[in-house]
């Protein structure tokens, strides 16, 4: 597969009390056409900052983002406009990301207007409404007149209207009820196969990521700690943090839940303004030794085909209670 989007050494610093915090600290990844890369991590890991960097709502402090080889890291406003035709974003909360004073039709039409394609509105808007499973009767409605699932469909339609190649999906089903989540996940899967879209799928829910992603990248305090093809990551997680995340992820099966040996981390997520030296997970890691504190910390090292891990003592063994 050819690489469509490539992030290389991304850094994003924000000013913070008495200094700065590196929300993203040297992250590299690539996304092929038609592929889904899952990006998982807990709050504060920097995954939503990555989403905003990739669609250039934020400008990286260092590093580059390329689409088809074109560097989009520091574009002018005008150049950004044509870049946004290629990369679009869907947000977590369809309640706050849709303007309550606009009808569904105007919300979906807006990216076309910005792209200077107003003449396409009449044909393109009904097309994308149908694509996301909404009908003409929804076009005149305001966000508050739509259900949560319908609102998220509008969010997806707005992203698709300019025919992007890459969709950044930032927790797209987190705010939805269980029975609606599956509808939206199935819709996203169908759209991907019909339109050949590449997804950067950001989520904290490992179960959702296992379902959606071809490959998964695990983020912890601004850095990637492990990347692997999805099945491999779930069957043979190698970074202790990945293991802890997987082990903490609840399974809807009482017998399995009872049989599991849970890794319960002790302590709190370290302060991002003053992260631990070396490996940033070491203060919560049960395998940590003295050498884990050495700067700059372990780099991602390839440990199998397409399975780099940033740990001095990676665990090669499969987890018996989650592997089948």
């Amino acid at each position: 597969m050819s690489v469509l989007l490539e992030a290389d050494g991304l850094v994003k610093e924000f000013p913070a009390r008495g200094g700065s915090v590196r929300a993203v600290d040297g992250v590299s990844f690539s996304l092929a056409a038609g592929e889904t890369l899952g990006l998982v991590g807990e709050s504060g890991s920097g995954k939503s900052t990555i989403a905003r960097l990739v669609v250039r709502l934020l400008e990286p402090s260092q590093g580059s983002i390329r689409i088809d080889g074109d560097d989009i890291s520091h574009l002018s406003r005008r150049a950004l406009r044509s870049m946004r035709r290629r990369v679009q974003i869907v947000f977590q909360d369809p309640y706050s990301s849709l303007d309550p004073r606009m009808t569904a039709r105007s919300i979906v039409a807006e990216p076309l207007k910005i792209a200077g394609r107003s003449r396409d509105i009449a044909t393109r808007v009904p097309e994308v409404f149908a694509l996301v499973g909404l009908g003409p009767e929804h076009e005149g409605r305001y966000p508050h007149e739509l259900s949560g699932g319908q609102r998220q469909r509008i969010g997806i339609a707005r992203a698709l209207v300019v025919q992007p190649e890459v969709l950044v999906l930032d927790e797209p089903v987190t705010a939805l009820d269980g029975s609606i989540q599956a509808q939206i996940l199935n819709l996203l899967a169908r759209l991907q196969s019909e339109l050949g879209l590449a997804y950067l799928f950001i989520a904290h829910d490992l179960a959702v990521v296992r379902h959606m992603a071809d490959r998964v990248a695990v983020m912890h305090l601004g850095r990637l700690v492990e990347t692997a093809p999805t099945e491999e990551l779930f069957l043979a997680p190698s970074h202790p943090y990945t293991q802890a995340l997987l082990s903490a992820s609840p399974i809807p099966d009482p017998a399995r839940e009872r049989a599991r040996q849970r890794i319960v981390l002790t302590g709190e997520l370290p302060d991002a303004v003053d992260p631990p030296s070396g490996c940033r997970f070491r203060t919560r890691c049960w395998k940590a030794r003295e050498e884990c504190a050495a700067r700059p910390g372990p780099a991602l090292e390839e440990r199998g085909q397409g399975h780099p891990v940033a740990c001095l003592f990676p665990l090669a063994d499969r987890i018996p209670d989650t592997a089948e």
Binding site: D177, N186, R210, F234, P250, I251
Partner: protein, 333 residues
Amino acid sequence: MTDGTRVPALEVDGLRVEFGRLPAAVQAVQRVSFSVDPGETVAVVGESGSGKSVTGLAIMGLVDPPGRITEGDVRLAGKPLTGMSESEYRRVRGQDLAMVFQDPLSALNPVRRVGDQIAEAARVHGASRAAARARSIDMLERVGVVPAARQARAYPHELSGGMRQRVMLAMALVNRPQVLIADEPTTALDVTTQAQILELLADLQAEMGLALVLVSHDLGVVAGIADRVLVMYAGRIVEEGPADRVFAAAGHPYTRGLLASVPRADDARPVLAAIPGTPPDPTALPTGCAFHPRCALAEDACRETRPELRALGEGHRAACLFADDVSVGARSL
């Protein structure tokens, strides 16, 4: 289930909660009955609008107008709570009956130190100033907010989400209640923090013999902690039973649908079996079974009559005309 000799810690009997006035009243909770024994965990599962949270609030006597309990009883260790005056209820609340919410930040006072807030909960129920302070520090220690003496001086915004939820638990449990209602207590937390809080909750429950009512939308969390499960849909209990039975042999198509529609971290599913449609508008509930417009098994009878809960054995019941067949997999969706 009760064995007849001991009194359940909590009994809810034919509870009905309405919002607004007839004829336009919304039935938020209808004919909900269940009981929880000391040391037992009962999970109330449902989506938004199912009535699960209102049930929890009704037990606490915290349904605000225009909402009100129009029928049914709530009993705490055999003692009726419904019909109590607000001042009587206040004595029970926080003493024998406590609640924790999803968002501790909005439930805590932002301008008071957390230790003082816990101490106040003890003071209100009769502890002396010195005793309340000591119990506050003890509880913080017990829930892992350490070093307790120093952390007691923190303000809520100085603590992480997980620490704040521990503070909420300390405040809820400082008077050693018999019953704890936990409404989505870990929903706002990261999974690793969630695992810590659930483990703490289970420890505290065992130690204190608490009857725990867990209100949750998360089937994974429920599977890990519940002895019994109640599934609510459109204000009613549509299925109840031992957790193992409900998860392994659900008798209601809605429960089956929910279980089939969630992605699992332990299993790669190619396609999710989504339940079509959306939960009904509570102001315009469908006739018959409220789930029938979304149900693949629905027949004419389902549109006409609302099915009662049918016994499936071992305290497992489901409100579906085809519950027996659904439960053994003879009818699949």
